[in-house]
Amino acid sequence: MKESLLDIICCPIDKHDLELEVDEKDGDEIISGTLTCPECGETYPIEDGIPNLLPPDMRDEVTA
């Protein structure tokens, strides 16, 4: 994902803005990292460049 995505995404649960922590970057592209909701404390992973913003109960439904 690009950092500009932060302008429009939010926590799927309480719709609060998210904070970005980057683990790996490739140029502009954030390859892995974590999005955190400062309101409810939930975290959302970015893996292979794609943020996973499923509500946590849906994300964990299937064991990978």
């Binding site: 994902m1 690009k2 500009s4 995505l5 302008d7 429009i8 995404i9 939010c10 926590c11 799927p12 649960i13 719709k15 803005d17 502009d28 292979d48 460049g49 794609i50 943020p51 996973n52 913003l53 499923l54 509500p55 849906m58 439904e61 299937v62």
Partner: protein
Amino acid sequence: MSVREEFDDWATDGRDKGMEERHWHTAKHVLARMPIEAGETVLDLGTGSGYALRALKETKSIGRGYGLDGSPEMAANAADYTDDDSIGFLIGDFDSLPFADNSVDHVFTMEAFYYAADPAHTLEELQRIIRPGGAVYCAVNYYEENVASHSWQDNISVAMTRWSRDQYRDAFREAGFHVAEQDTIPDLEIEIPPESAFPTDRWETRDAMIDRYRTWGTLLTVGVVP
């Protein structure tokens, strides 16, 4: 089974591409109608292979296109099919959209909306995230009047909502949209074999196949945020 399990399978066995090819017959007409200005932000809900965003980038110079999908494998494939910097994909669910209020200009959704666990709530979410004056173009082949589609649920583990044309209009209004248009868009490109080829594996009669594709086709409902 969950959306993720069902559609991860579809993505890994190539059904994302198969859908792109078939849906394009009608999706291109839907996309062409959208009142998108250059530079605007468009969300594709249940993006599958992400073809709609690639097309809108080329034809309408969208500023940013985001594809949301509940299946990680779909999103991963879609991301693989483009290296355009202005197109991005994310994993999320129709029921809890991870977008800020008034953050997108328009929404496109093809053959996906009726998988929402609570479609009335998904419409409320769309109403929340689309700016005033923005439009949602919702296209579905699975709907009440399209009788041939009724049996589809038998082969899909995710519960599907089968509304009629009227129910779509009512639900859009209930969620706070103005209904600007409703139309059925025929698939004029799918080849319908001659009478002698029927019954086929899928179609009892030629008339049934004509009814499905040429008469009913795709139901489009357009909502605009006041």
